[in-house]
Symmetry: C2
Subunit: 354 residues, 2 copies
């Protein structure tokens, strides 16, 4: 039951089973046990290490019987690697992250990495603390969706020579060459959304955004502005900035927008889309009759609203996979790549021509 411990009173006080215990019990050296425990299985099921297959089998059996579990702290201390990567989204509870986390995890497993998530909660100080924690844990690499003011925190990782991949949000760190990037073509997203409404006959298209100072929002806005300009609608451009987390002022904005003749609205995030749809329902407004709408990210709300809502979707699977690919190749000493992926527009009733 409990290996060579015969008296029940020892069970409670049982110390952790170490590689030495296994070695002694199996009659081999710790070196051998270490080899066996770290060997990956070849496609034939055999262990690909310089150890006799029978010895290996015996070691494995003893380890299982004794309940051996590798102590990663020790391994990491000695080897400097932990086979662990950290993922730090700006907000662990948001839509974008919910959709991408699983893809990241699955891709990481393929490379043999374990993934831990820790949230910065859109707060630079918190990001700094989280960064200290993951660096203290000797992670081999970090995927981060940085929040405003997070430069210093990210530089910590760079100073510690731990590879970093920026996901979803770009950032100027000075030492660009050493940072990987996996981003959405946000300008294109802004263009697609705006053009869709123009094609539907809208002229006075406005936009609501957050005053967060993050690249993705700035780029989506850029796409909106460019498209308005290239369609001769430069003078109709209007962007309203609300605070992240603040609720309520969106309703007033919509009323104002309508009173000045707005006929279309671009919403560059899921949460803004949800707020606006909710406000429109409260105000008894319909889309596209009263206002054309293009939202962002995937959600049940787009199909549940009275009219289905046109929205921009991000290639979450590709974003997740690529961020891991880029990070792993950096861990392996290759250079930092930058990848930009294209969004897609899912047409709905909210941009039907009137």
């Amino acid at each position: 039951m409990c290996g060579n411990t015969s008296s029940a009173e020892f069970i409670e006080a049982m110390k952790r089973v170490t590689i030495r215990d296994v070695a002694r019990e199996a009659g081999v050296s710790v070196t051998l046990v270490s080899f066996v425990m770290n060997a990956k299985r070849g496609e034939d099921g055999k262990l690909d290490c310089p150890v006799n297959q029978d010895t290996a089998k015996r070691v494995l059996e003893v380890a299982r019987r004794l309940g051996f579990r590798r102590n990663l702290s020790a391994a990491s201390l000695r080897s400097g690697k932990s086979n662990t990567i950290a993922v730090i989204p700006n907000d662990i509870s948001n839509k974008f992250f919910a959709g991408i986390s699983r893809n990241i995890e699955e891709e990481a497993i393929k490379y043999g990495y374990t993934v831990f998530f820790a949230s910065s909660e859109e707060n630079a100080d918190r990001l700094s603390d989280v960064m200290d924690a993951v660096l203290a844990h000797n992670v081999d690499g970090i995927i981060v969706a940085p929040c405003t003011g997070g430069e210093a925190a990210i530089r910590k990782a760079l100073d510690a020579m731990v590879p970093v991949v920026l996901l979803d949000r770009d950032m100027d760190l000075g030492t660009e060459e050493s940072v990987g990037k996996v981003l959405l073509n946000d300008v294109m997203a802004g263009r697609m959304a705006t053009q869709q409404m123009i094609d539907a006959g809208c002229r006075n298209i406005e936009m609501i955004s957050y005053s967060l100072g993050i690249s993705s929002l700035a780029q989506r806005e850029k796409g909106y502005r460019e498209t308005m300009e290239s369609n001769g609608l430069a003078d109709r451009v209007n962007v309203y900035y609300t605070d992240y987390g603040k609720v309520g002022d969106v309703e007033q904005f919509i009323k104002d927008a309508l009173s000045r003749g707005a006929d279309g609205l671009f919403l560059p995030t899921y949460s803004l889309s949800a707020q606006v749809l909710s406000a429109m329902k409260n105000l008894g407004l319909r889309t596209p009759e009263d206002l054309a709408i293009v939202g962002f990210d995937e959600s049940d709300i787009y199909s549940l609203f009275a009219t289905t809502i046109t929205h921009i979707v991000q290639p979450l699977k590709a974003l997740g996979e690529k961020s891991v690919d880029v990070l792993v190749s950096m861990i392996q000493g290759k250079g930092a790549e930058s990848i930009v992926l294209n969004p897609e527009l899912v047409p709905g009733g909210s941009t039907h021509a009137k």
Copy 2:
């Protein structure tokens, strides 16, 4: 700029700064540095360790200048503690977890713990792997929302003497006494939902659930059955089970339910609620006229549907905080507590009396 390293070519090859480097540079022993680095600040801002305040300040200053960062692998190896707890939700991208993760994190920080998240993705094998990973990382405790068949994985943690708190879902592990629990009063949730529809005049109330075999769903169903029975509607009880992740059969079920006279529907999870609302919209059904509805968990969809939807909300903040409280007290050697919290019903138009 870089401490005592004067030549630029050394910067690239700079090894990790250790406690010894700090000790040498500050002219003290490593013991002292260790004391200082681990000291917590008292309320007066002074360090509460047996070290001269001036010496301490000097050490701190040197550590900062050299860019010292504690190696948690070494600390954890030596001390056996990591000041880290792991949270393993059944699905990192689901509604319940999204709402609770922040509360868990904030409560953990109060106790000085770092938290890492890792998802089991509703899969027992995956949970087993994740459990190996977090145990290898020497976490001090684990909060887990177990998936079906996860007993063995959880027992691993128990065997390793790492405290475990079951969140959201109960589970029979044999050795009950050593497992903490923080659960919702799911029976009450089922009762509240059902009673609300009965009060609105419904008689033929049905329920859709998942064939997942998890306690929370079973208990919610129990509450539904009990309430139907105590209202003399035992013969009207009908529960349809769909597969988690499967989409599409809900629409057919609704049609069937209506054809046999159903007038109310209890949806015990968010995802079921979303599926049903979507199906109802496709079918052109209205609530409460065609069917009364009670959904689960908080979401934008409940206010965006043509009629607002009555739903049951869980005390996410309390669930998150309590799970950490219970875990920490277990880490401190106190006994395992079991806590059950009550749900609330948020009334909406979907259960207005007809």
